[in-house]
Amino acid sequence: METKKQRFLAALVLLALGLGLAALTYFKTTGYKNPVAVITDTKIKDRLLKKETDIYGNKDEERRQYLHVQVLTGKYKGQTFETVNTYYPSQLVTQKYRAGERVFVTVTDGSLALVSPKRDWILVMTLAITLSLMVAVVGRRSWHLIVSMAISWILFYCLILWDVAVNGAGIIWMFSLADIVFSFFSLAIVQGVNKKMLVTWLATLLGVFVSFALCYAVIKLTGETYLNYEMGDYATQDTRGIFMAQALLGVLGAVMDEATDIVSSLYELIQHKPEITVKELLASGRTMGQEIMGPLINVLVLIFISEALPETILYFRDNNTIATTFNFTMSLGATQSAVSAIGIVLTIVFASLCSLLFLKKPQKGGKQE
């Protein structure tokens, strides 16, 4: 058995390694398309160009930074350029640079332009902190979680390759199939392939697909009123299909976890108390579901709607009404939340019923009520 001390030691070692890797990433200059450069000023000269008030009455400033940038890679390696960067302090689309930081640049005809700050090392650093905390909290079994997470990302990547290859044709079927595969792998990694896992899998799929079909019918029956699919961001293909795909994918994790919780507990219950009645079992599943559903739905609501917050603020800032703003920014996220919520609620029913049908052994002696 591992002791607490060992766990903390392992976590510390991991953290040190991770931070070392982050430092290496910070100083890494090869393998990028654009040359890497470093801002050599210790204090950047920053001048106010003008104060501006736009047609919506928003007051902002236009400022300019005067920078010295030394290129670290490529043809111009070692050369220092002077350049300027114009930015607005609100930094909605513009970027303010900091003294001494590493940046990506392009150099054409002897003049240098800034592309963006180098950010990859921050991901490595944060990942290191997260993983070492995980080891500190759950110990050796972190492996399961890390592998499961990695496989989810790999499958997700394959899914994107596939979608692009067929240009989004039959996207609903594609993502339905993806749900089936994703949930199988996720559940199999954590639980192993056994009867309990298969029951959980079935409950998950029923929860996702029945609720999706129900919501699809509701959306069709109401004529997709006020559903501005085209307001989905970064659209590169049929926006309606993308929305449906996002809905299918977004709810899967929550439903899978909820089904796992309910089926595992009912399984334990059946093991410890084989004489439990059908009514008791269903009541128990329902009580569990009631406890979980509220917080679980809120997790997804916060993920789907918070994401739209920066845009929403921009719309309000530009004097749009609540109705317009909501329709153009939050309504798709809200609809996705509603679809997911229905999935989460229905899963309680399927998880309880599947446990009852497949896990509970028929009673000997006919003691059923």
């Binding site: 990028y32 928003n58 609100s90 930094q91 909605l92 689309v93 513009t94 700050p117 950010r119 921050i122 944060t126 990942l127 905390l133 499961s148 997470m149 989810s152 994107i160 979608d163 692009v164 994703f182 509701v218 959306i219 109401t222 006020y226 970064y234 659209a235 590169t236 299918l248 994918l249 899967l252 994790g253 929550a254 976890d257 796992t260 009631q290 406890e291 559903m293 509220g294 917080p295 997790v299 997804l300 609501v301 916060l302 993920i303 709607i305 918070s306 920066p310 929403t312 309000f316 800032r317 909501f326 939050m330 809200a334 996705q336 509603a338 679809v339 919520a341 229905i342 609620v345 229905l346």
Partner: protein, 264 residues
């Protein structure tokens, strides 16, 4: 009737049938929680201080999620304190990392959204990015706190004479399950939320190194990790608080009734 309205009505009916009284309360907790987000957006757009609004709305949202969503008072109280402490810790982390990441605002990918909008809105998108990150993690933290607290309370009910030490140990086992649960919810939620962005990267032939330096991707990946960090911190803290609270309660029970009333 709008499709969203119809879906919300279907949801309300289902939650009432399946959830009973708890279901109705959960429905309102979700509804209020969503409306609070709209309110936050409005208040920020009026130019009020973003850090102050965030500091006010975090506890407000936690109350909505935790006290309306669960029916056991001990679970709710414990979850609330645990989430609040965790979110304070995570906020500090978020502030530091967001400062380094410089990934606020909208990327060049968002060109279409910005069409016809002010590009100089005069409010700090750096601060807004921090608020968004805190709110995104909030749901996951609250959910984990509730699962942890109710799991441990069940254990305590089943074995009333369990020691604090044993409770902490079982807490780690429950924590593993809670963590697994939260992780899938967060990751798939994020996949579902940002599918179109990933398709965008692929279709526009972003290279791997470009993607991991891109503002929007970095922001997104960081939000996933903040949520995970929040959940990870919640596991030991919720266990600790509940174990402490319980031993205090049972001590008080052994003492006179008066102190016990004060404790409650």
């Amino acid at each position: 009737m709008s499709s969203l309205g119809a879906l919300i009505i279907v949801l309300a009916i289902l939650m009432t049938i399946i959830g009973g009284e708890t279901g109705i309360r959960s429905f309102f907790s979700v509804l209020i929680n969503s409306l609070l987000l709209v309110l936050v957006a409005m208040l920020i757009s009026w130019g009020l201080s973003i850090p102050i609004i965030t500091a006010i709305f975090v506890p407000l949202k936690l109350v909505t999620i935790i006290f309306l969503g669960t029916h056991d008072y001990t679970v709710a109280k414990n979850s609330f304190y645990a989430s609040l402490i965790v979110l304070a810790l995570v906020s500090v982390l978020i502030l530091g990392i967001q400062y380094l990441a410089q990934a606020a605002g909208l990327g060049p990918e968002a060109g279409e959204i910005l069409l016809g909008h002010s590009q100089m809105p005069g409010i700090s998108y750096g601060q807004i990015a921090v608020t968004v990150a805190i709110f995104s993690a909030l749901g996951a933290v609250a959910e984990a706190a509730v699962s942890m607290s109710s799991g441990i309370l069940e254990l305590k009910k089943a074995k009333p004479d369990i020691t604090e030490e044993q409770l902490m140990k079982s807490g780690a086992a429950i924590g593993y399950d809670v963590l697994g649960t939260a992780m899938n919810t967060i990751i798939y939620g994020m996949f579902g939320s940002f599918l179109s962005l990933f398709l965008w990267y692929y279709r526009l032939h972003y290279s791997f190194s470009e993607v991991i330096n891109d503002k929007l991707f970095v922001n997104e990946a960081l939000i996933i990790m903040y949520s995970l960090l929040g959940v990870l911190l919640t596991v030991p803290l919720a266990t600790f608080l509940l174990a402490k609270g319980m031993s205090r309660q049972s001590e008080a029970k052994n003492g006179n009734e008066k102190t016990r009333d004060q404790e409650l």
